[in-house]
Symmetry: C2
Subunit: 338 residues, 2 copies
């Protein structure tokens, strides 16, 4: 584990390096557009948006748009820059809205924008970025792009509401869980990829291939994210684990451990995740149960399945370094779990 | 007071009746589209959205779109129905997001969607309606409409953030206050009206006339709303007053009373609105101070000023019953204060 066999037979640790190199200049341009377009005479807006965008890390979603446009042969224009910005703004808006807490919620370990600026400011600045994203799309002028991203936004909201309903419900099954992550995470990955094909003016079949790649990659990404939240390795590296556990989120590792467990174990999951009655040693116990039932390993196995679909989605594109970078990205997402 | 002299010299109480009659059938169609388009396989979404849309009352904003389209001679198509729905969805989304509270907030008197369903559900269902609104606009296919409503949405968010900053700040001046209400309220009135002209394919000058009407009507509407929150008459009628006061919102009646008051009075405003230290008799005292300084009457006077601008904005349209209904609407909004 932790090692992938690459196509040329060598062993190497998958990385984002190839993808990063391909989109490096474009991404720098996106970062400039982000800064310019999040500006407002109302100073709190760039201040708060800047806080979360600076912390936002990898810019994975806009990178997908940029790389997809390149793979589809888009080399002349700058539309992919503006539209990658739209994708990042929508992502940032959902992060801000995801930070909103109810009084009953447990506080998360890390400092969210919300903890600093308050619920209401997070909501409104999210709304601003969301609206600004649509303004940018209108400037771009493609109704196809507008259709893709407005639809994605509606599906994301549906996915988030579904997650809200399944939270604290240990009866949630794997299918419902998959609906949640398709909505809240994978839909934007899919849209980000598809938009790249649209700006390049490629046939529908390529749009759909890239959308399928993005959808399945998004599922991989979220499954592995859910594994990492229970990873003893991550904890050793000093990273926060147990956020999902503390919030009572029902993710696939929980679903598998719950279904494979005995009555006493199910009582444990109900107490900790439904009633949110947790003691200091409960997270450790949760990880122990997951390990006993191979819930984490099997979640990674499920991720590999979607990774394989993502890989095959790109079969219609010619083999070249960009396609290879898209393949590496799948491996990279999966290998995060090791 | 309480009586307007109408154009034909008769005294009559202004009403919404003429406007309601003109858009009645269209509005029924809008209500059907609202129900259809707020549906989702995630049952909580129509449930929560229905709660606020049912309570939403007058449907003033979609009525503006419908009536504006009619005044511009749009009689053949159904585009105004879908777009009026978009306007109402954006309004509903902002209401839901406005319901979001911070832990420090005082609870409002009435049952908000948020109090029943929680902050997070309100935010996410708001996001859904907002996204759905853009999906509907994309179906309609007009980039002009998309530009108007995406821009309006960004300005609304800016206005709401500005309001957040000015809340509890008694130093807020009349200009800053006007910026707040132009953003949070008037911009959507303006956009709602303008969209009516756009679907009718009218020249820019008519679009702008209707936009100006809507902007100024929106200012009237909000100013009077702010007066009503301190109205002893409203309290007698059993309506809730004092919401703004309890939240420490700085509205024009406060700004005028604060600026016209002496040091002792300003200390009162600071204690109650900045520090939110309020006793049972403070609201009464606030109304007393406003009355002493004519702050409520003069806010109504300011509203009349914007009402006059709204009226003149429509000068380029021929005199007919729809234009008369638009005029009546201004009077109706102002007379709510009596």
């Amino acid at each position: 584990m932790g090692i992938v066999v690459s196509l040329d037979g060598e062993h190497k640790k998958p990385s984002l390096d190839a993808l990063t190199a391909i989109v490096e200049d474009d991404l720098a341009a996106v970062n400039r557009v982000i800064l310019r377009k999040m500006d407002s005479p109302v100073a709190l807006i760039p201040q708060l948006a800047g806080h979360i965008i600076a912390a936002g890390g990898k810019r994975l979603r806009p990178m997908l748009t940029l790389a997809a446009a390149r793979m589809c042969g888009y080399t002349e224009g700058q539309r992919h820059i503006a539209l990658a910005t739209c994708v990042e703004f929508i992502h940032t808006a959902t992060l801000l809205h995801d930070d909103v807490v109810d009084e009953s919620d447990l506080r998360r370990g890390q400092e969210s924008a919300n903890a600093i600026f308050g619920n209401k400011a997070s909501v409104l600045v999210g709304d601003f970025l969301f609206s600004r994203s649509f303004e940018l799309m209108v400037e771009d002028g493609s109704l196809d792009v507008l259709a893709i991203l407005s639809h994605a936004s509606a599906v994301i909201a549906e996915g988030e509401v579904l997650q809200l309903i399944t939270t604290n419900d240990t009866e949630t099954g794997e299918t419902a869980y998959l609906d949640v992550i398709k909505g809240k995470t994978a839909q934007l990955f899919a849209a980000a990829c598809r938009v790249g094909a649209v700006v390049a003016g490629r046939p529908k079949v390529e749009e759909e291939a890239l959308e399928s790649y993005g959808m399945n990659l998004g599922i991989v990404f979220q499954l592995i994210d859910d594994v990492l939240d229970y990873s003893a390795e991550q904890a050793k590296l000093g990273k926060t684990v147990g956020d999902d556990f503390r919030e009572g989120k029902i993710t696939l590792p929980v679903i598998l451990a719950f279904r494979r467990g005995d009555d006493e174990e199910r009582a444990f999951w109900r107490r900790t995740l439904e009633d949110l009655e947790q003691t200091d040693t409960d997270l450790e116990r949760a990880i122990e149960l997951m390990t006993r039932h191979q819930a984490l390993d099997d979640t990674i196995e499920r991720a590999r399945h979607y990774g394989a679909i993502a890989r095959d989605s790109l079969g219609i594109f010619k083999d070249d370094p960009i396609k290879q970078a898209f393949h590496d990205l799948i491996d990279f997402c999966i290998e995060r779990a090791h």
